[in-house]
Amino acid sequence: MVEFRYRTDEVTEQPSVTLDAFLDQSNATAVRLEPDDDARALIPFLDRLTLIEVAFPKFRDGRGYSAARILREAGYQGELRAQGDVLVDQIAYMRRCGFDSFAPEASLNPDAVARALASYDHAYQGAADSAVPIWKLRHG
């Protein structure tokens, strides 16, 4: 269940299909990526996708962070959802990598999530979000 969503458009009702299913008959608008799927396989189809769900079966498996950045770097504008073993203290990093909705398996405390997202005013490095890296703030 989507517990946190940081976008204002309509939620996609269509259930997401696997990457293989999508590549076979690509009229779906929602896809689910497993950790070992290659996010770049979706790049030719980004325009027609409204939801990409990235699975985190274990929070320690960080491949989904790269998948998210790759999709955003390729210009994907639709919903990018982290689903699975998503914990409070990962949400800020996930936001920076381009995720804008979260479906954690175990429900999260909204106050804790809000605090985690507000912890840092700035970031050292550029990523997929709009944060201006500190080096750029220093050099105008």
Binding site: Y65, S66, Y93, D121, A127, W135
Partner: protein, 542 residues
Amino acid sequence: MYKYDNYDQAMVDARVAEFRDQINRRIAGEMTEDQFKPLRLMNGLYLQLHAYMLRVAIPYGTLDSRQMRMLAHIARKYDRDYGHFTTRQNIQYNWIKLEDCADILEELATVEMHAIQTSGNCIRNISSDQYAGAAADEVTDPRPWAELLRQWSTFHPEFSYLPRKFKIAVIASPEDRAAMRLHDIGLELVRKDGELGARVFVGGGMGRTPMIAPEINPFVKADDLLSYLEACLRVYNRYGRRDNMYKARIKILIHEIGADAYRGQVAEEFAHVKTLGIDPPLAELERISAFFAPPAYDAANVEPDRNDPDFALWLDQNVKPHKQAAYAIVNISLKPIGGIPGDATSAQIDVMADLAEKYSFDELRVTHAQNIVLPYVAKRDLYAVWQALRDAELADANLDLISDIIACPGLDYCSLANARSIPVAQKIATRFADMDRQRDLGELKLKISGCINACGHHHAGHIGILGVDKKGVENYQLTFGGSGAEDVSIGKIIGPGFDEDGVVDAVEKATEVYKALREGDERFVDTYRRVGLEPFKEAIYG
């Protein structure tokens, strides 16, 4: 030295608040230990055999007297009055209470220090040459580059849940004092057509599968470096093995697909990443470099008086030439005979801080060999420095000799260890306590690990000792011929292992073979490489 601006300070302050909140949630039971573990690890907090251990970052091993005094203060107030300097140029406290952690981090933050990313599967503290800024053979000071990397890697959103930990070293001299090619990424700064850039080595490491990093790129320009490293890391994050934690380091990926295939994948990723604008302008490297401007050297070139024989021995062994003729680099040995390698008491840490403030332009370094360096001491002050060190029992003149042993904490502290390291180090040092004998043996790097994870760098020892558990009994394997320097190599196991006393005897026999066979000014490792294992094996097992 680098000084935080408001942005840097806000980062560490925010981290303290965040970690305090995480600890509170753990204590309140809102998080399981399994969920808390990766969070505390990213703050350098381990649960060891007897207590929590806190590892504090000392970026590229550089610190000032104020920071050094803070380390003493923490040892005194929150631990048992000592700290342990590590092979990654950090400091560890072995007896920390969970409920004190946030306060400790808050105190550290007041002197621009932290424990960020000193553990966990993220980019760890950047290490470097302890002689940076003082070495005559450097093409540039590597520390501004290390600081640039520190900032880039801090809270990196994409690379904080890597397959495994990730260690980066930066050097800028042909002589490698940082075991650069035994890191996940080793950078050697070089000059090409007048321009500075980095030679990039990827996929080195020790642990259970030691590997020497192959060169992946001969020259990456300064303003491409972060993009290039992002590409290196992204390929690893996506394709590094996650099915087996013992095969998850980047060295295994590169070994399995080959350096050429990895190089190709990185090149492709780099071509893309470079378009994202994530490289700071050279002005940022220049801003950082200004903090590392050479100190105001003003001493007259006065050679020290060598009348005191103990002082003269220390001068010859522990004091190294400086790029400025009137100055010297002082190595402070944390390897007293019979002591615990890398340990220093709060009082000793304070003495070293005082000496740095008075005699070394307020700077100290921690070395990967678990010693301390005063990088800028005027030669005229060497005798005064030595006297103060002697009074604090810090004047052991054994740098790079057989008793200058690297040892991990081993089974005395560590929950991963199979065997004790410290008592073996103590016994070997005691066996060779006679300084004339040690000096006669010359440079002999002996390194001890208490388990296969190789924190004591045994693979890189001229003589390496690996503690294993053999049916419930501690057993020690010997390796010869390793090196972490520019002649980098991985030591080879010489034969069946020994018990604790047996390994000390075997080391002694090896030194006798060396003395009998050495030619000219060959070091132990040179003789071993020339004559091979056989004569040693015969003497030890024969």
